[in-house]
């Protein structure tokens, strides 16, 4: 096996000898991985909205600021179909909003009063019949101090179903785009390495072993793919920051809620890893054909 110092030195020499091709390949890799990365970013933010609590809220009662919240809660607790009643005061609601949407919460920090009214969240028993939430909400609307009572049952169910559909579609599309990205990366690397085909032939004639010839190119292509993937992460972060800045200036009722978080670190690291894998695949395809004694004529 060739020495590591030789392999690294040769890989660096290959990169230095064709800087334009290297830069073009890295850019192509970055763009190819940017699209599935963007899909992952949108999916990540959609997922934040999914309610996956162990006790999902079925009904939300919004109360007047002067209402007796405890009396209303006690009244609800007498219903045998109800498992849990959660009182959410104004301050607690504000804190919850800030935790869920840190970028938007900062905009409300200067307010003297908490902008959210007190509310009560109702969790039904698992065996509660269908439309129980709607019945409780309808009855609660008539109680004193209750400004509004909404059933979240149907919405939660439909939202979760829609989210699952979008995420599955996103995963499928993401997988297809990632595969396309990998093939694009492999082709870009292969084109770059084809520039060195004559050189590879000369090295063979000089008695270099196949591993000594190929290892530097494998390393070069892998690093090229890794850097391209890293650049894709950078482009995604720039996109995220730009969108956040744009939405904070002119908030959109839906997008402002959706667009609040960047990719997690493990997900972000997938892009450079995918780029590196694609680069390696490309170099294997380009140089993978073993030297045969019938196919080595140099032009």
């Amino acid at each position: 096996m060739p020495r590591p110092r030789y392999v690294f030195g040769e890989a660096w020499s290959v990169a230095r000898s064709s800087p334009r091709q290297t830069a073009a390949a890295i850019t192509l890799i970055a763009l190819a991985l940017y699209v599935p990365g963007l899909l992952a970013l949108v999916s990540h933010n959609l997922g934040r909205l999914a309610v996956t609590e162990a006790d999902p809220t079925a009904v939300v009662l919004t109360l007047d600021a002067k209402a007796d919240i405890h009396a209303t809660a006690s009244k609800l607790q007498t219903d045998a179909r109800i498992k849990l009643v959660r009182i959410v005061g104004s301050d607690a609601a504000f804190e919850r909003f800030r935790r869920a949407y840190p970028d938007l919460g900062a905009a409300l920090a200067d307010l003297k009063e908490a902008p959210f009214p007190p509310s009560i969240e109702v969790v039904l028993r698992p065996d509660a019949p269908a439309k129980t939430g709607a019945e409780i909400a309808a009855a609660a609307r008539l109680w004193p101090g209750v400004e509004s009572a909404e059933s979240e049952e149907e919405f939660s169910r439909r939202f979760r179903d829609a989210l699952a559909l979008v995420r599955n579609a996103g995963l499928f599309l993401g997988a297809v785009l990632t595969l396309a990205a990998i093939l694009s990366v492999a082709s870009a690397v292969r084109l770059a390495l084809d520039l060195h085909r004559d050189e590879v032939g000369i090295m063979r004639l000089m008695g270099a072993t196949e591993s000594a010839i190929r290892a530097p190119f494998w390393l070069y292509a892998t690093v090229e793919g890794f850097v391209g993937g890293g650049l894709a992460v950078g482009l995604l972060y720039a996109t995220y920051r730009f969108a956040t800045h744009w939405l904070s200036r002119d908030p959109h009722p839906v997008l402002a809620v959706l667009w609040v978080g960047f990719l997690t670190l493990p997900t972000a690291l997938l892009l450079p890893a995918a780029g590196a894998a694609a680069g390696l695949v490309g170099s294997l395809l380009s140089l993978g054909k073993k030297q045969t004694r019938r196919a080595t004529r140099i032009a």
Binding site: S17, L205, G207, T209, Q291
Partner: protein, 237 residues
């Protein structure tokens, strides 16, 4: 020693590049391989440095039947041979020193040793002052001398040259041929393929003449092919 016994090389169905060629070259001998274009000179050299296998016959180099050498052993055998081409075949992105050193690099030699050997062979060819130059900064004659230095840096037992002066003017060609003679004097077997009959005449070395794949060598009698079983080829390093 190089021995060929009934070696033939056929491309496709109809083209016979070499037909039943047999000869022997003694260690330390200087031999010209000549003939018109298409005679089979380059084909013969390609068989000798294992770029292609023969269709028939045996090729024995230093006691080994190289025609049946395992694929993995080829690089190690090539390190015992030096090869020089008409178009130099230097790697453009490497300096003169790097072109000579890279084979030593894969052998695992230290940087100090690589520099010492490279300087030594470059001095022999008169180019030690151009170690950091790139091939495109050199003249044709200088490039060929670098190629020769690369070919001899591992002190090969055999040096093969395929039309080494084909791209050079007569003065430079004379210089290059003088280098080959000097290398031969030090004990390396030299085989030069050329159609420069004037050069051959002036050098006065033994000549093997090919014509349409046949060898005209009345001084050598064809010997019966020995049975040579391939022993494991041990790398030099």
């Amino acid at each position: 020693m190089i021995q060929l016994f009934g070696v033939s090389k056929k491309y496709g169905t109809f083209r016979d590049a070499l037909i039943d060629v047999s000869f022997r070259i003694e260690p330390g001998e200087f031999v010209f391989l000549t003939g018109p274009s298409g005679a089979g000179k380059s084909t013969l050299l390609r068989l000798l440095f294992l770029e292609e296998p023969p269709t028939a016959g045996q090729i024995i180099v230093n006691g080994r039947n190289i025609g049946v050498l395992p694929q993995g052993q080829i690089p190690y055998l090539r390190r015992t041979m030096g090869v020089v081409f008409q178009d130099f075949k230097l790697i453009g992105r490497k300096t003169v020193f790097e072109n000579i050193a890279f084979v030593q690099n894969v052998l695992g030699l230290s940087r100090v040793e690589q520099k010492r050997r490279a300087y030594h062979v470059l001095k022999r060819v008169g180019l030690h002052h151009l170690m950091n130059a790139y091939p495109n900064e050199l003249s044709g004659g200088e490039q060929q001398r670098v190629a020769i230095a690369r070919a001899i840096v591992n002190e090969p037992t055999v040096l093969l040259a395929d039309e080494p002066t084909g791209n050079l003017d007569p003065v430079l060609a004379e210089e290059i041929m003088r280098l080959f003679v000097e290398i031969n004097i030090r004990g390396t077997t030299v085989v030069v393929a050329t159609h420069d009959l004037e050069m051959i005449r002036r050098t006065g070395k033994r000549t093997l003449t090919l014509e349409r794949g046949h060898l005209h060598d009345p001084d050598r009698v064809r010997e019966s092919a020995p049975i040579v079983r391939e022993a494991p080829f041990l790398p030099a390093h």
